[in-house]
């Protein structure tokens, strides 16, 4: 039952992102080549992206996701450096620093704030949508991260997933968002009107304020598509893994089937209800998972406790020996930390 829920959450989560990504790619292509941005064209784009994702799924994890991820990150870093150089460089760094400070200082209040005493509905469209979205993505992102995290300690995994990506997100947002805010407030370019008009054009509208617009917009579109293919690929691996009952290698037609299903759902949701349909699907499937994850915390605590008891009785002595054996021997101590030959000291007469 819970696996069914995971499969559904993964497919809906991916479909939401595919819907957003396609809207953005269509906006970029429209800006570059004057192609239409209507639903029909977007469905065509979904078909193309799904085709690419299917190829990557068939290639498997090493040839597909791993290589794509590295290409993505390299391209994204180049993109970011370009904006830092041509954009308001000093402003970006100063807004990154100040924004981080504001984030940390307002975090306790902001993260528990629930509009309890006001009749505003700001939060529903933002924080609650995001939390639902992240939670509905968490089964598949989590399963994927789990698969690649063997051999890392709990501390390494948690800090690696929480601290570094958080800082990187903040830097990325400062570079792109900060630049856009700067353009807006300085009156250089009215990004806000364009964003209000069609949110998908935001990035491309901002790029027009800088040199080499054609080239950077193309890079933007490539990044949107390749990031999506990577997500979709890891999602298909997860869905495939669950629907084959955990077989080591499931048949290729099955992977292809699920990759195509993703595209189909995104297309239907786009035709049927647009962004609201996608938001609803994401938030609603996230809800049961929020409860599942809360129970999971308890379960994990119980299991960790058990693991530490095990470690203390079985493994710790061996580990301690391999790390500190040399030091101990030097002090004339055995592996257990006690003097090496207690018999000798007890009976000196035998010498």
């Amino acid at each position: 039952m819970i696996d069914v829920l995971t499969v559904l959450a993964t497919l809906f989560g991916l479909a939401t992102s595919l819907g957003l990504g396609v809207g953005q790619a269509a906006a970029g292509l429209n800006f570059l080549f004057g192609t239409p941005t209507g639903t029909g064209f977007q469905v065509l784009l979904i078909a193309i992206i799904t085709g690419l994702a299917t190829m990557s799924v068939v290639a498997g994890l090493d040839a597909g996701v791993k290589r794509l991820s590295q290409i993505n990150i390299n391209l994204a870093v180049i993109f970011m450096l370009f904006i830092i150089v041509v954009g308001p460089t000093l402003f970006i760094f100063s807004v990154f620093t100040q924004g981080l400070g504001e984030y940390l200082s307002v975090l306790p209040q902001l993260s528990f704030w629930n509009e309890a005493f006001s009749d505003t509905t700001w939060q529903q469209g933002w924080t609650i949508f995001y939390w639902g979205w992240w939670i509905s993505w968490s089964p598949f992102v989590g399963m994927f991260i789990a698969r690649i995290s063997k051999g890392r300690s709990v501390r390494e995994l948690i800090l690696g997933v929480m601290a570094f990506p958080t800082l990187l997100s903040a830097l990325w947002m400062s570079v792109f968002g900060g630049t856009a805010i700067n353009l807006q407030l300085e009156g250089v370019r009215d990004v806000a009107t364009a964003v209000n008009d069609n949110v998908a054009t935001a990035l491309f509208d901002m790029l027009q304020a800088f040199p080499l617009t054609q080239l950077t917009s193309l890079l933007g579109i490539i990044l949107v598509v390749s990031f999506f293919v990577t997500s979709s690929d890891s999602g298909s691996l997860v869905v495939d893994h669950l629907t084959s009952g955990g077989k080591l290698d499931s048949p290729k037609p099955q992977r292809v089937f699920w990759a195509i299903m993703e595209g189909l759902i995104a297309a239907v949701l786009l035709i049927g209800g647009g962004l609201t349909a996608l938001q609803t699907a994401a938030i609603t499937t996230g809800l049961p998972f929020a409860v599942v994850l809360l129970v999971m915390c308890g379960s994990l605590y119980v299991a960790f406790h058990e693991e530490l008891d095990l470690l203390e009785s079985h493994y710790d002595a061996a580990l301690f020996r391999s790390r500190h054996g040399a030091l101990l021997a030097h002090h004339g101590l055995g592996d257990d930390g006690h003097p090496l030959e207690p018999a000798d000291t007890a009976n000196p007469s035998e010498e």
Binding site: V65, V154, R155, L168, P251
Partner: protein, 239 residues
């Protein structure tokens, strides 16, 4: 302790560290390329689970190899959902809107509270004595370089969203800052609030949720030999 003794001990310790680094490099280099997500269990913590082969109740037909319950339920629900959206195109939008505001109004607090719980629990596990537990047992070595690991987790987790929202979200907040901040739209203050709010939506909370879920799944798969699925996470409390 005499100086030469100290040197000897330091050398022994450095040798051990070099050995550890070599083992880590070798583990990454020797990794068997894998196609699917399945973890090959190296431990049988629960004998009754270890005796079962994954997918032993599968149906194999027409080039498919499927777990019947999971596949048919998921596919069934999807088909119904997709068909319903297509047939009732006009009313579907309204229904979606109603469901959305119902969930948001009634369970918004649950989302907000739960997300905070995940962040706190994540930090607790990282900084308490549980932090030293290693995924795959004390002797386990990573299968990917740290750079490749980061590249994959960021790409899979957020890449597409970072592309879509990086300009749009701060600008939306600039024009309509969250009421909590009480600042005027389109001012420098609103700019600061906009970035802080964007950091908030893309910061510790989402990554905390991912960290906790991946930690639980990895732990039960590698340290307990259970299949890599959500079912396994509840094994210790539900059996």
């Amino acid at each position: 302790m005499a100086d030469e003794d100290l040197t000897e001990v330091t050398e022994a310790y450095e040798d051990w560290e070099a050995e550890e680094r070599r083992r880590r490099r070798e583990a990454i280099y020797d990794r068997r390329p894998f196609e699917g997500l399945q973890v090959d269990p190296e431990i049988d913590f629960y004998p009754e689970v270890a005796d079962r082969e994954p997918g032993d109740t599968n149906m194999v037909k027409w080039g498919f190899d499927i777990h019947p319950q999971v596949t048919f339920w998921s596919a069934g629900i999807l088909v119904v959902f997709v068909a319903w959206t297509l047939i009732f195109q006009d009313t579907a939008g309204e229904v979606f809107n109603e469901v959305l505001s119902f969930v948001g109004n009634s369970f918004g607090w649950l989302y907000i509270l739960a997300a905070n719980v995940f962040v706190v629990v994540g930090f607790f596990f990282a900084f308490s004595r549980y932090g030293k537990i290693r995924i795959g047992g004390p002797e386990a070595q990573p299968e990917f370089t740290t750079a490749a690991w980061y590249a994959m987790l960021i790409s899979a987790g957020m890449g597409i969203g970072l592309m879509f929202w990086s300009v749009a979200e701060p600008i939306f907040h600039l024009a309509g800052p969250p009421p909590l901040f009480g600042v005027e739209p389109m001012t420098g203050d609103a700019g600061e609030a906009a970035l802080a709010t964007t950091f908030f939506h893309w910061g510790l909370h989402p990554w905390g949720i991912y960290a906790l879920v991946s930690l639980a799944l990895a732990f039960f798969a590698y340290n307990r030999g259970l299949p890599l699925t959500f079912r396994s996470v509840f094994y210790p409390i539900l059996g």
